[in-house]
């Protein structure tokens, strides 16, 4: 590692909170060579950003490097003085961040900000710096750079802001660029453009890049070598091909499996290890919850939900039974759920989700015709028509501003349409305004699961109350015993351990909150469930488990889904049909298998092309051969272990 551009050796970083100190890094060792692009991947809390910030000496006040070394171009910079540090930052080593809009000074023109970056290290006149800033804007391919020079950040799009920041970062030609999730929150097409730009500049200048991301696809596409981090440690590092095709570390295996690709199937997402636990999902998730819960309640602590205490002691045995079953009850496992299908049928039901049974011909469950929504002068949704059959799962995809969330809210009667007709099971529900739809008899038949699981749970309601609310309100269930039984039942169906029911949202992990949200959604036994990016805020491993849960539920509950997402891979796996939206209009719709294999519209093609290739070599082959089989063969370790996911029961 002597020739390394930057090498981090056994780095420990801890953060002092008001309660105690938290170890964010526990011995990270990695190195990036000159001109190399090193990917650092990991889920939230893995310490990947902290590593970068520590290298740049940008940790906030609470953070402290407790041991280890950071060596940059042969010089130990672990304990550099402020002035020496300033000479390094920007000129030899630079960094860009996520959330580009916030990363620029809102009250200074971008031209001045770039000029500031130049003049921080070069003795040039203001005019020369401005001239150079203009060149840089051209270099980062900003359209109309002369005008943009005098623009304020709020006048630029997120993608353009990120280009400006890149311009600032490379202004003094650093040898190393650290990019911390630079495209998170941007649309896929913008993401591709930004990443291509960074890659291009890096290649042209032989600049070393540390690219931090949670997206394995991006890492695979743009990095020469990838480091996988977990819990403040490096668990594995290798070239992306090797790493993603034959991961050695169990965590990497899970992570790789859980990341949706162009060819992956829902049932591939969760890696099973050994025989004892068929599904790692819940166990994994609970471990995460134990780590992250703000105020962890010991399991079995007194139950604070009204009246639950008595029922708890009464129902002890059933709870214990449910707990015993809990470990098994993601998809594929034969967890005790309330309405088990006959054996033969389950085989087909479990994973045949996608092609199972769209019942074309009969009248659809939901028919939307000419739906239009205007907010003031702008049109968010413009003449959208589609239908969902009973038991069908329809995906609604599009970039931000495509109107997909607006449609989901209108369909769910939380928002009024401006024009258009919505028929649910033959009834025109557009006539009932959203304000009063709460009184409609159909309210319980159309339910919704929201994007941000945390935001969608009332902070003053326990998980029990959250799930019980629609039961009380829409099903009129008042009796405590009945209510409790129904809530327990819902919790079991979504695989939520019953002992978590008395916790408040802030005491639950992301995956657990998602389960509560889904349990609430299915509590009234709806026929149509609108899923508004239900996994967007989750880490991939948790997303995988939740997606499997959704597939299983659709089978068991005979649900129809309207699944809204920006993630095309997820939609492809989960939905029978897909609708592609752009600027409030449908550009294309059709069966998912057809649409993703042969997109007709150029926009759809662009969208698909913009998805980072998870595994370039495999994907190329996959295009030729039958997709699922091709990748299945590549990922042999897992494929061999679990011949038939449904077979265990």
């Amino acid at each position: 590692m002597t020739g390394a551009l930057l090498s981090i050796e056994d780095l420990h970083v801890s953060f002092a909170t008001r309660r105690n100190t938290v170890d964010a890094l526990r011995g990270v060792t990695l190195a990036v060579n000159p001109g190399e692009t090193l990917g650092v991947v990991g889920e939230s809390g893995s310490g990947k950003s902290v590593t970068a910030l520590a290298a740049m000496h940008l940790l906030d006040r609470a953070g402290r490097v407790s041991s280890g070394r950071i060596v940059f171009q042969g010089e130990d910079i672990t304990h550099l003085s402020a002035s020496a540090l300033r000479a390094v930052r920007g000129s030899r080593m630079s960094m860009i961040f996520q959330n580009p809009r916030a990363a620029l000074n809102p009250i200074r023109t971008v031209g001045l900000q770039i000029a500031d970056a130049i003049r921080a290290h070069r003795r040039v006149s203001q005019a020369a710096a401005t001239e150079r800033a203009l060149d840089l804007l051209r270099l980062v391919l900003i359209r109309d750079p002369e005008t943009r020079l005098n623009a304020y950040p709020h006048e630029l799009s997120g993608g353009m802001c990120q280009r400006v920041i890149i311009a600032m970062a490379i202004a003094c030609e650093p040898d190393l660029l650290i990019a911390d999730e630079p495209t998170t929150g941007l649309d896929v097409s913008t993401q591709k453009a930004i990443m291509d730009l960074i890659a291009g500049i890096a290649a042209e200048r032989a600049m070393g890049v540390i690219f931090i991301t949670h997206d394995l696809g991006l890492a695979a596409k743009y990095c020469g070598r990838v480091v996988v981090m977990k819990d403040g440690r490096v668990v594995e590092q290798a070239a992306p091909n090797k790493l993603f095709n034959a991961p050695r570390d169990p965590y990497t295996q899970r992570l790789v499996a859980a990341s949706p690709t162009k060819v992956s199937r829902i049932e591939d997402l969760v890696v099973e290890e050994g025989v004892a636990t068929l599904s790692r999902g819940p166990v994994f998730e609970q471990a995460a919850a134990r780590r992250s819960a703000v105020v962890p309640l010991p399991v079995g602590e007194r139950v604070r939900v009204r009246g639950l205490r008595r029922l708890w002691s009464d129902g002890r045995t059933s709870i214990r039974a449910a707990q015993a079953g809990e470990r098994y009850n993601t998809i594929g496992a034969s967890a005790p759920h309330p309405n088990p299908l006959p054996n033969g049928e389950r085989e087909r039901a479990e994973f045949g989700a996608i092609s199972a049974r769209p019942t074309y011909g009969s009248s659809p469950l939901l028919r939307v015709t000419g739906l239009t929504k205007r907010f003031g002068a702008s049109t968010a949704v413009d003449g959208v028509s589609f239908a969902i059959n009973a038991g069908e799962s329809v995906g609604l995809v599009g970039e931000s501003g495509s109107g997909k969330s607006t449609i989901s809210r209108i369909v769910c009667r939380l928002l009024d349409q401006t024009e258009g007709e919505i028929r649910f099971d033959g009834t025109a529900i557009d006539a009932e305004p959203a304000r009063t739809f709460n009184r409609s008899a159909l309210r319980k038949d159309i339910q919704i699961v929201f994007q941000d699981a945390h935001d969608s749970l009332n902070p003053r309601f326990s998980a029990f109350d959250c799930i019980a609310h629609p039961l009380r309100k829409l099903m009129g269930i008042r009796g405590r015993a009945v209510l409790t039984e129904r809530v327990f039942d819902c919790a079991r169906r979504v695989g939520l351990p019953l002992e978590l029911l008395d916790r408040f949202p802030h005491q639950l992990s992301g995956g657990q909150k998602a389960r509560v949200g889904i349990a609430r959604g299915i509590a009234t036994g709806p026929r149509l469930l609108v899923l508004d990016e239900p996994t967007a805020a989750l880490d991939v491993s948790v997303q995988a488990v939740i997606l499997q849960l959704l597939v299983r539920l659709r089978q068991e509950e005979n649900l129809s889904y309207l699944f809204v997402s920006h993630d095309l891979n997820v939609v492809r796996m989960l939905c029978d049909r897909t609708i592609v939206l752009r600027n409030g209009r449908i550009v294309e719709q059709g069966r998912s298998s057809d649409l993703f294999a042969n997109p007709a519209d150029p926009y759809t093609r662009d969208l698909l092309a913009a998805i980072p290739e998870f595994n370039p070599t495999a994907a190329v082959e996959a295009k030729v051969a039958e997709p699922a089989i091709a990748l299945g063969a590549k990922r042999q370790p897992r494929a061999r272990q679990v011949p038939s996911p449904g077979g265990e029961g």
Partner: protein
């Protein structure tokens, strides 16, 4: 239903001992207010001209005023009336403000814009002048001091409740409640207001001190409570005439009482905020 565990409260107290001081101080002041008639050593109104202007002694802990009244008894007796005025004013503006602000924040639109504008204008206006004018116009009585104090507090509560409701209005759990069959009114009353209540409680505690200052200020200039009633503002006003001749105790003790009570309620507000959310601390 409380989200706050006892453990958390204990931890906040342990990490900041001032919390305990503030809480006990506020409780003691409240107790003094309640028990005032029984714990004053002497009649706060009884004059004794022979013993006028005595500096603090063992007989008169805080000394006597220009009419020979026992300042300690007067300070204690005044606690009751000052707290009563402040409390009633704050509760009034709290209830009204929460409802008006809550509705505006939830409904939005034109009503919200109009109310928002009025509130902004009111808040930037010299509020003490407003209170003065109100008392002058409505009549120089204690209940009008309460009304005026409540009125000048109102914009703060409206704005606070409005902002708090507004950020939650479009949150997932409110939409979920609607999907769960709630109507607008019940969402405001049973979902939004309970959620903003803790934050409002902090505001109440912080505002209590301010309301005390306002009420005392009004009586200092001769509005509201009238002499010879024992009230901190009046006592300071009366003592002010003698400060240039060095009779500090006439002003110092009621002034200190005023200061301490405001301090304790402010600290209590800060502590409550800490207990509710450690991250909110600035």
């Amino acid at each position: 239903m409380s989200v706050i565990t006892l453990k958390h409260v204990r931890w906040v107290v342990a990490s900041n001992p001032l919390t305990l001081v503030a809480a006990s101080g506020a409780i003691i002041i409240a107790l003094i207010g309640v028990l005032a008639p029984w714990i004053t050593p002497q009649d706060p109104l009884a004059t004794d001209v022979a013993n006028a202007m005595q500096p603090p002694t063992t007989a008169h802990w805080f000394g006597t005023d220009q009419l020979g009244r026992d300042i300690f008894s007067r300070v204690v007796a005044a606690t009751r009336i000052d707290l009563a005025i402040a409390l009633s004013a704050v509760s009034l503006s709290f209830v009204l403000g929460a409802v008006i602000g809550g509705v505006c924040g939830y409904v939005g639109g034109r009503l919200d814009r109009v109310v928002g504008r009025v509130v902004d204008v009111l808040m930037a206006f010299p509020l003490f002048v407003l209170a003065m004018a109100m008392v002058a116009a409505l009549g120089n009585r204690v209940e009008n001091v309460i009304l005026a104090t409540a009125f000048i507090n109102l914009p703060f509560y409206i704005r606070f409740a409005r902002a708090e409701v507004n950020v939650r209005r479009d949150s997932g759990w409110v939409e979920a409640a609607r999907a769960g069959g709630e109507n607008d009114l019940s969402i405001i009353l049973f979902f939004l207001l309970p959620n903003i209540l803790p934050a409002m409680a902090v505001q109440v505690s912080l505002n209590l001190g301010w309301a005390i200052l306002n009420a005392a200020g009004l009586s200092f200039i001769g509005l509201g409570v009238q002499a010879p009633t024992a009230e901190w503002g009046i006592m300071v006003a009366e003592g002010a005439r003698f400060i240039t001749s060095g009779k500090w105790w006439l002003v110092a003790f009621p002034g200190a009482a005023l200061m301490l009570s405001v301090l304790f309620f402010n600290l209590l507000g800060d502590a409550l905020r800490d207990i509710l959310d450690p991250r909110m601390r600035t």
